[in-house]
C-alpha cells in the first residue's frame, strides 16, 4: 500500500503539479490568441512577443520596487508590478492597432494579410524587447520559494518520496483560475462582454443592433494585452525570463487554441491543459512508478520514457496535426467567443 502512495506522490510531484502549472500558462496564452481570432478574425503571431513585452515591463517595475524595498512577502513582488505591466502593454497594443491593424481593417483585408502583418509586429516587438532589456536571462523571482518542501512532506507522511509545491506554481494555478472565472463572467454576464460575443458571432448583425465595432475592437485588445502580460509574467516567474523562449511558446499556445477549437474560450482552456499534460505524459520517466507498483524483483535499466524530453516541442506539433486531420474544428468546435 505504501508503494501505491509513493507512486502517486511521484506522479503528483513530477506530472500533475507541473502539468497544472504549465497548462495554466498555456491556457492563459491560448485565451488571448482565441479572443483575437474570435473578434478580429486573424491568427495573431505577435501574441508570444506581447507576453514577453508585458513580462518585461513587469520585471522593470519589479526591479524598481525591489530597489525601493517594497515587497509583499511571502508573495513575489512581481504580482504587485503586474498592473503597471498591463497598462503599458495595453497602451502599446492599442497604438499598434491604431497605426498598423486599423489600416487593414478599414480595407476589410483578408485574414492572411492580417496574419502576415502580425508576423511583422512580432519582429518589431521582439526587437523592441531585446533593445530594452537585452536577449539574456533575467531572474526576478523573490518571496518564499516553497509552500511545501519535499523534505517536510516526507517527514509529515513518512513516505520515501517527496511532494513539493513551489510558490510560483501555486500562484500560477490560482491566478489562472481567478482570471478564467473573471473572463467567463465578463463574457457571459456583462453587456460589454455580450456585445463582444455578438460581434464575434455576426459582425453585420452587431452593427445593425447599434454595437460600436471600434469599441469592441478596443476592449478586445485591452483584454488580450492583460491576458498576455499575466501569462507572460507567470511563465517568467515559474521558469525565467528569456525573450526567445516566448517565441517558442507560440507553437504550444496555438496548438492549445486550435485543439480546443479556435475562437472558443472554453476550448482554449481545455486545449492548454491537453497540450501540457500530453507533453508531460509522453516525456515522463515512468521508471520509479513501475518499480513501486511492479513485482519486487523487477529491475529496469532504462527510464521508461515514451519520448525523450528533447522531443517535448514535437508533441504539441503532432497533436496539432492529428487534430487538424481528424477534427479540424477542434474539441469544442469554435469560431465565435
Amino acid at each position: 500500500m505504501v508503494d501505491v502512495f509513493n507512486a502517486l506522490t511521484v506522479l503528483g510531484n513530477f506530472l500533475i503539479i507541473p502539468g497544472l502549472t504549465y497548462g495554466s500558462q498555456l491556457a492563459l496564452g491560448a485565451l488571448g490568441v482565441t479572443l483575437v481570432y474570435g473578434v478580429l478574425r486573424f491568427s495573431n503571431f505577435a501574441h508570444g512577443e506581447t507576453m514577453a513585452f508585458g513580462a518585461m515591463i513587469t520585471i522593470l517595475v519589479t526591479w524598481g520596487l525591489q530597489a525601493a524595498s517594497i515587497s509583499i512577502q511571502p508573495l513575489p513582488t512581481a504580482l504587485l508590478a503586474i498592473p503597471v505591466g498591463i497598462v503599458v502593454t495595453v497602451v502599446l497594443t492599442l497604438l499598434i492597432d491604431r497605426f498598423v491593424y486599423r489600416y487593414h481593417r478599414d480595407r476589410k483585408a483578408n485574414p492572411v494579410i492580417f496574419l502576415i502583418v502580425s508576423i511583422g509586429v512580432m519582429f518589431f516587438m521582439g526587437g523592441l524587447i531585446r533593445f530594452i532589456i537585452g536577449p539574456g536571462d533575467q531572474i526576478f523571482f523573490d518571496g518564499t520559494r516553497f509552500i511545501l518542501k519535499a523534505r517536510e512532506f516526507k517527514q509529515m507522511t513518512g513516505l520515501d518520496e517527496g511532494l513539493s509545491l513551489r510558490m510560483t506554481q501555486a500562484v500560477t494555478i490560482i491566478t489562472a483560475i481567478i482570471i478564467v472565472a473573471a473572463m467567463f463572467w465578463f463574457l457571459n454576464h456583462t453587456r460589454t462582454g455580450k456585445s463582444m460575443r455578438a460581434y464575434s458571432d455576426n459582425e453585420n448583425l452587431a452593427l445593425l443592433s447599434g454595437i460600436n465595432p471600434d469599441r469592441v475592437v478596443m476592449i478586445t485588445w485591452i483584454l488580450v494585452a492583460a491576458l498576455a502580460t499575466i501569462a507572460g509574467t507567470l511563465y517568467g516567474l515559474d521558469k525565467s525570463f528569456k525573450p526567445f523562449v516566448y517565441m517558442q511558446l507560440l507553437l504550444p499556445i496555438f496548438a492549445s487554441a486550435i485543439v480546443g477549437g479556435v475562437g472558443n474560450p472554453l476550448g482554449a482552456i481545455a486545449g492548454g491543459y491537453v497540450i501540457a499534460f500530453s507533453e508531460l505524459i509522453l516525456t515522463f520517466a515512468y521508471k520509479k512508478i513501475i518499480l513501486y507498483l511492479g513485482p519486487e524483483t523487477l529491475e529496469l535499466d532504462s527510464l521508461v520514457q515514451i519520448l525523450g524530453t528533447d522531443y517535448k516541442i514535437a508533441v504539441s506539433f503532432i497533436i496539432l496535426v492529428i487534430v487538424l486531420i481528424i477534427k479540424p474544428t477542434g474539441l469544442f468546435s469554435g469560431k465565435t467567443i
Binding site: K194, R197, A198, D201, N202, N204, L205, L208, G210, T336
Partner: protein
C-alpha cells in the same frame, strides 16, 4: 413626402450598378411590400435604404430628415430597424441574449420590451435560454423580428421574414406584422409569397432588374392582369 423614402437610388456592390433610379417609400402605420423575381435587387434596395450600400445617386429621407450620410448603426439610433434576409440572429447566443443585443443602444430598462416580444411570440419565452442556432427556421425568424423590435423602431424593415417557414407559421407571422403596424410602426417588407403579402400591403412595389416596374396599392397590384400573369403565377 413619405415617412421613410429612398429616392432615385442608383448604385451597386462594385463597378456595376444593381439599382437603377429605384424609389421606395412607406408611411407610418402602413405596410409596404416589395416583390419581384430572384436577383431583382430587392435585398439590395433594402440595404441601400439602411445605408449598407454606397449609393452613386439618390437619397434617403427618414422622419423628415436626410439620413443618406448616416452609418447603419446611426440609423438604428434614429429609429430604424432591419431584419436581414440571412444571418439574422446571433446563433451562438440564447434567445434572450439576442433580444438584449437588439436593445444594445438603449440605456433604460428593457424588461418591458422583452415581455412585449414574448407576448407577440410566446414560443420564444419557452425557448429563451436556448441558443438561437438550435431553433427551427420559423422560430429563428421570430427571434430575428423580436431582436429588431427591441429598440421600438419607428420603421421596421423585413427582408423575407417568412422565408422557409410553413404556410401556417407564415399566416401567423403576417398577423404579427399587422399587429406591429397597428402600433403606428412603418413596415417595409420584401416578400417571396407575393400574393399573401400584397393582400396585407397598403402599398406594393414590383422590382425588376433594379428598376421600379409597378408601383401601386396592394389591392390594385393584385388586380392588375399584367402583374398577375408575370409575377403572381396567373
Amino acid at each position: 413626402m413619405s415617412f421613410l423614402l429612398g429616392e432615385h437610388m442608383t448604385g451597386g456592390y462594385g463597378a456595376a450598378d444593381i439599382l437603377h433610379d429605384c424609389s421606395i417609400g412607406v408611411e407610418k402605420g402602413e405596410i409596404a411590400v416589395i416583390v419581384g423575381p430572384n436577383g431583382a435587387g430587392k435585398s439590395t434596395a433594402m440595404k441601400a435604404v439602411f445605408g449598407m450600400l454606397p449609393l452613386r445617386k439618390g437619397r434617403i429621407v427618414f422622419d423628415g430628415s436626410d439620413v443618406t450620410a448616416l452609418k447603419p448603426e446611426e440609423r438604428v439610433v434614429k429609429g430604424m430597424g432591419f431584419v436581414p434576409q440571412t444571418h439574422n440572429v446571433f446563433t451562438s447566443m440564447t434567445v434572450e441574449e439576442n433580444l438584449e443585443m437588439g436593445a444594445f443602444i438603449r440605456t433604460d430598462s428593457i424588461s418591458d420590451s422583452i415581455s412585449q416580444v414574448y407576448d407577440l411570440f410566446p414560443i420564444l419565452k419557452e425557448k429563451r435560454k436556448q441558443p438561437a442556432g438550435e431553433l427551427s427556421g420559423g422560430q429563428r425568424q421570430q427571434v430575428a423580428v423580436g431582436r429588431a423590435l427591441m429598440t421600438h423602431p419607428k420603421v421596421l424593415m423585413l427582408d423575407e421574414p417568412t422565408a422557409g417557414v410553413s404556410p401556417i407559421v407564415m399566416d401567423e407571422l403576417f398577423d404579427r406584422i399587422i399587429e406591429i403596424a397597428r402600433l403606428d410602426v412603418a413596415i417595409l417588407m420584401v416578400e417571396q409569397n407575393a400574393k399573401q403579402a400584397l393582400e396585407i400591403a397598403d402599398k406594393g412595389y414590383v422590382l425588376v432588374q433594379g428598376r421600379n416596374r409597378f408601383t401601386d396599392t396592394g389591392e390594385a397590384l393584385l388586380a392588375n392582369p399584367e402583374v398577375r400573369k408575370a409575377f403572381l403565377g396567373g
